[in-house]
Amino acid sequence: MALIELRDVSKSYHRDALDVPVLESVSIAVPEGDFLGLMGPSGSGKSTLLNLLAGIDRPSRGSIRIGDTDITRLSERALATWRARTIGFIFQFYNLIPVLTAFENVELPLLLTSLTKKQRRDHVVTALNIVGLTDRGQHYPRQLSGGQEQRVAIARAIVTDPTVLLADEPTGDLDAKSANEVLTLLQRLNQEFKKTIVLVTHDPHAAERTRRVLHLEKGTLVEQAVS
């Protein structure tokens, strides 16, 4: 059974009394341990699809099952709890909290758990160690390079040991070297730590690092490639 299963998912937005379709009847199955790349031009619906998987947006039609949970049936409150346990989200612009240190940014999702302060510290140290930033824990985001910020954001995404990692163009704001480091890190998380990853990207080099790629165009899946 696939870990992630989208069935006939459609999404449209209401703009000035008009329904603007963004996704139309998309069905995808992502097995556990997969590293899926989602490609497509701007406005093709990639980020919308990712937001639906993260449970931060709701489909107009269809169902989304992740693990044993049909997330389209969850209330806002239940969705938030589910997200905290199940999803690690990596943003294009890192979106770290500027007043918190790298350590505190990574610790943020753990504040929602019942872990003790010492347990939280151990988890944060482990996550920072995985992304190679143990020595940057006390640095504020403004004191880090873009690549380092994104690695802190990845540490924040993995610190709760989520089932699924969702990355929305994580290399879109990075230079080639930093982008390569981030992609290598994501590959390692997939291969070594068996994380299921869905990566949205414009970049063919980034897509090459995934196990398989789906292309979206005007809200529909147009082809499926295996790398």
Binding site: N51, A54, I56, D57, E76, R77, A80, T81, W82, R83, A84, R85, I87, F89, F91, Q92, F93, N95, I97, P98, V99, L100, E104, L108, P109, L111, L112, K117, R156
Partner: protein
């Protein structure tokens, strides 16, 4: 508690803005606590008034005096047990800025009728035996360093008392045993002032002790009837009404000070609310990220509201403590002309409570805004 660090960090995001918000609340609470202290001071005299004392003054104004013969006439009124009188002296101690109240009293009857004026038996005896002796409140003694045996010279402030300075010897330092008596005044023998007065035999006001407080109105009316149609008509009231009319000389203090306090609090509420709303708007992305990480709407609400509460409470504590430290008779002696002003622990507690209310109310709209933020819209707006 684990979110407290997050709230504190957020509050320190813009140190200048936070400091200004805290300062605005501090000023509001300082003013509120101080104005309450002023009101309390005025009301204390009224609240603590004796129910068995009535006060007779000229019907025209407290500033006009009456013949000393009124005393006997008042004493002979049915229901009256005892009578004393006093005059406002208005002298100057070294410099007109050294203002404190001085009363020329008939010492034996006055001390008898005002048990709130606490003196040791030795001091009382020394005062009664010395025609040029005086007693001063312990607050006044502290302010000017007066000690028993000290000589005090007062320049004449009211022309009635001639032009020569008055010399006094401090024979006692009294403590106040109740609101009608403050500890910032000076009392001396009425005879000493009267013998050098250009218009002899005049009293500023009379105080009478009555047997039955329930008959105060009837006794007061009987006294005033005695002097009706005379050149010195009187107006007699209970001590409470007399204190109220004295307070009333300053206008409607309750309304005036209450309005100022209310305006300050409402203005601060808007300032704090606007600052917090601005802070939330600037943090749209961060709030969306936190929601994405799994923070519940309610948690976001509490974090933002908590931040507002924390800032307001910080300001409240600073303002209330400053008021407590600064607004007291040692720093602002009123000289006995108006009651003592002192911020007490109740004022401090109410001030801090008010700051909490400001924080909660001001944070309500921004916190609701933040908790209702649609994650996708917020992320899209920022991207």
């Amino acid at each position: 508690m684990k979110f407290l660090g997050l709230v504190l960090k957020s509050a320190r995001r813009s140190k200048r803005r936070t400091a200004l918000t805290v300062l605005s609340v501090a000023i509001a609470v300082f003013l509120f606590a101080s104005l309450r202290a002023v009101l309390d001071g005025f009301n204390a005299g009224v609240e603590g008034s004796s129910s068995t004392r009535i006060v007779t003054q000229r019907s025209t104004s407290l500033f006009f005096e009456m013949p000393i013969s009124h005393g006997e006439a008042i004493k002979s009124t049915a229901g009256v047990q005892d009578v004393t009188w006093a005059n406002w002296f208005g002298g100057v101690y070294k410099d007109p800025q050294n203002f404190f109240a001085q009363y020329a009293i008939e010492p034996e009857s006055y001390l008898r009728m005002y048990p709130e004026l606490l003196l040791s038996p030795d001091e009382k005896r020394a005062f009664l035996e010395d025609r040029t002796g005086c007693i001063v409140g312990d607050g006044l003694a502290r302010n000017y360093g007066f000690k028993i045996g000290d000589k005090i010279t007062l320049q004449v402030g009211i022309p009635n008392y001639g032009t020569r300075d008055f010399d006094f010897t401090v024979r006692g330092i009294y403590k106040s045993g109740g609101a009608p008596v403050d500890n910032q005044s000076m009392f001396f023998h009425w005879k000493y002032a009267d013998e050098r007065s250009t218009q002899k035999g005049l009293a500023g006001w009379y105080i009478a002790v009555i047997a039955n407080p329930d008959q105060a109105a009837q006794v007061a009316a009987a006294i005033d009837r005695k002097f009706a149609n005379s050149p010195f008509e009187t107006k007699t009231d209970t001590e409470r009404a007399f204190q109220s009319s004295f307070v009333g000389m300053f206008g409607n203090i309750n309304l005036l000070l209450g309005s100022i306090a209310l305006a300050v609090v409402i203005t601060t509420l808007f300032v704090a609310g606007n600052t917090m709303a601005m802070s939330v708007r600037e943090r749209t992305m961060e709030i969306a990220v936190m929601r994405t990480l799994g923070f519940q709407s309610a948690t976001i609400f509490l974090l933002i509201a908590g931040e507002g509460l924390l800032m307001a409470l910080g300001g409240g504590i600073v303002g209330a403590l400053l008021a407590w430290l600064l607004v007291n008779p040692r720093v602002f002696p009123t000289g006995g002309f108006i009651p003592e002003i002192s911020v007490n622990t109740t004022n401090v507690a109410i001030g801090i409570g008010l700051s909490a209310v400001i924080g909660i109310v001001a944070g309500l709209i921004p916190a609701t805004m933040a908790s209702r933020l649609k994650i996708v819209d917020a992320l899209r707006r920022v991207a």
